[in-house]
Symmetry: C2
Subunit: 438 residues, 2 copies
């Protein structure tokens, strides 16, 4: 038996915990035996003193084992494919999962995704899928496995069955200002990934004004830690460090992002736009990592070519339609907003930078996301980004188009968008999208 | 209104709180509106980031105002004397309050003391007084004031009326490993001192192996902070930094310490011992500070002479008897242990050092203190210290005599005492008792 105060004291002094100490803390907290005030004191001590890689491994494993785990070993339901999972740390306009899941499945790699909802300024894959009428993200684990075996991919929501310890600890971190701790973020992400039982995991760790990690350095520390924890648990892991200093693609908002994905997969325009190079580039790069780790290519260069071909020849689109149909989604009835509002440049120049978090919050304010769990989303709400970093605009040119059902919200969004956009006469270059692979 | 998470975040980043933020936190926690898990996260952030002097002042004042305060302004119940309070941070064998209170009262300074019980390895004045049969420490505030006006001094226990915020916060610190934070220790001590309403406060801040502060440096930081907080609240404050690298005096344990005090005040021997120079020196030094701040001497040198004379001419003893009688204590029936056990030196040499905390714990293990609040004290249990630092012993000489009703505990205490005593052939000097005044 351990004394909780001694465990807190140990971390306060920066000492390393044993597996047994972490197990005692997490398991007795999850069971309701350890009071919240002791857990929150420990969490704050972890914020200041950190956790060693070994401690993060223990914490991850113990949180993972607090609930159900899924087995996707080769041979489940007769499939011979490897399973590869994908995780993004969250961004603005990041809709790549909707392209990657069917694309990688089309290459013969199983893609089981447990996705999240929008959180603060970042969008959530579940909300995007639910903008497709009929799409059901609440299917049983058995049906999830069956669909992955049959279709190659399925995307569902986090259920209470997985990692109840993480859920309870995260709720406490949220109200005690201990969310922004890299060891705790790492254990939270990886416990859920490991519970899913995929053979490999591809991570998209974002940095920049629209990401939780504002600098490349911070993102690198997190990415290396996530990869190391995954590898220690016997998984293959790749991580890309990707730029989030501007929104990804041209659309932000749930049904708007579905529209962008359909346009990319079908090679058509959407609302007059087809400059989707960054969404395509990131989707292909992440898909290539997954196809490589899924054993369908000898290296990532070859895997990239496979992914590019499957996107161009319509295979990804066909798989996407099959996937939507399997989960009840009707792509023909996706609704777009009938109301729009134009935000134009007040001066001429080159777009230097965005406060991308603020752009995400502008989309949130239009109803594209939730401030609190009970908020109802307007699936048609969002933004179109006409000018991105390095692009030239004249005074009066379109910068953004605002969409949504509630026109009363448009003016406030406009003010936020203009203050989030930095235009000056100086020339600047577009930031490179993929900074590093680790 | 404030958001608790934002206040926690602010301290986590090392920023300074406003008075309003601290008041919100403390008052809503005391009222039961702020959850314990948020308070404990804040306390841990304070442990790591500290509090400014201004913040400690605010915290002290707000905790002080959370309950009743007493007014001892000149003229209460017709007395013209100034009131001077005394506080010790706690040590082993520290019985000076029992000598100082009557001695200073005999000099015409009112001494209102709200004392504590033994905590861990340190003894408590209340427990010592309660070893005097009939002594009542639970008298009403009105009777407390009346007795101080009439007798010159009274010692009572902490009641729930004073500083309920401190009581509740301390209980939380105790179970979240946030006790050892100088700003929090300072606010806790001073809120109770300021609630008492004395004109001046004399502090005995101990350092060394038997004190909470192990080094002079730590003790100095605490003493300076305590003095500054008191002065900002309009009180005169003196602080002495005193050595606790060995037990004070020759006896540890409740009725044994009463015996030592009576011996000092009467000039007699107690259990064959009369080498009480350190207890006398510290009592006189602290009494001198109090007599000086109480306006009865132009400087501390003169005040020291007054104190010395009142001790030698029997005035202190007479006042002590009057004080005990006023609170119902019968000095004639103080009981000492009938059982004793001798601990002898295993080798010859000079006493180099003590693990004084361990000596305190040995006394605790005999029943002189409490491990938990519900433990019952053996008032006769304790130790006699025959050899102190710098004294020479031969193999087989008496080092300690162990006293108490439960002989089954003697052997374990002996092992603790021998391992807490460092004897070697090297000569060493006695540490100086009073290191600094601030």
């Amino acid at each position: 038996m351990f004394l909780p105060t001694e465990i807190i004291q140990k971390k306060k002094l920066g000492l390393e915990h044993s597996r047994e100490e972490i197990a005692f803390l997490v398991n007795s907290f999850t069971a309701g035996d350890l009071p919240e005030y002791q857990m929150s004191a420990w969490l704050m001590a972890v914020y200041f003193k950190g956790l060693s890689t070994q401690e993060i491994s223990f914490l991850t494993e113990i949180m993972m084992r607090s609930g159900r785990t899924i087995d996707f070993s080769a041979g489940f339901y007769g499939t011979k494919n490897l399973c590869v999972d994908k995780h993004s740390t969250g961004g603005v306009g990041d809709k790549t999962s909707l392209i990657i899941a069917p694309l990688v499945a089309a290459a013969g790699v199983s893609v089981p995704l447990v996705a999240g909802r929008g959180l603060g300024h970042t969008g959530g894959t579940l909300d995007k899928l639910e903008s497709i009428p009929g799409f059901n993200v609440n299917i049983s684990i058995e049906n999830f496995r069956e669909q992955i075996a049959r279709v190659g991919t399925s995307i569902i929501g986090q259920t209470d069955e997985f990692c109840p310890a993480d859920k309870k600890i995260y709720a406490l971190r949220d109200v005690t200002s201990t969310v922004d701790s890299i060891p705790l973020i790492c254990a939270s992400i990886m416990s859920k990934k490991l519970a899913l039982g995929a053979d490999a995991i591809v991570l998209d760790v974002k940095f920049g004004s629209g990401a939780f990690m504002k600098s490349l350095g911070e993102a690198r520390v997190l990415a290396q830690m996530l990869a190391e924890i995954g590898r220690r648990a016997g998984r293959k892991v790749s991580a890309l460090l990707t730029d989030m200093s501007q929104p990804l693609g041209r659309f932000i908002g749930n049904s708007l992002e579905v529209g962008e994905c359909l346009a990319i997969m079908s090679g058509e325009k959407f609302l007059g736009e087809n400059r989707f190079d960054d969404t395509v580039e990131l989707s292909l790069a992440l898909a290539a990592e997954m196809i490589f780790l899924g054993g369908k290519a000898p290296n990532t260069t070859k895997a990239y070519e496979i992914a590019r071909d499957l996107l161009q020849d319509g295979s990804a689109l066909r798989k996407f339609k099959e996937f939507c149909q399997a989960q009840g989604g009707d792509l023909n009835s996706v609704k777009q907003s009938s109301k729009k509002y134009e935000v134009r440049a007040a001066s001429s120049g080159c777009v230097q930078a965005f406060d991308t978090e603020k752009i995400g919050l502008a989309a949130l304010s239009l109803g594209a996301g939730r401030r609190k769990v009970t908020d109802v989303i307007d699936h048609t709400a969002g933004l179109q980004v006409h000018a991105k970093i390095s692009e030239e605009v004249e005074r009066g040119d379109l910068l953004f188009t605002v969409y949504g059902e509630n026109e009363a919200l448009f003016e406030e969004a406009k003010i936020m968008l203009l203050s989030a956009t930095n235009i000056s006469l100086q020339k600047t270059r577009s930031p490179s999208l993929i900074a590093e692979r680790c």
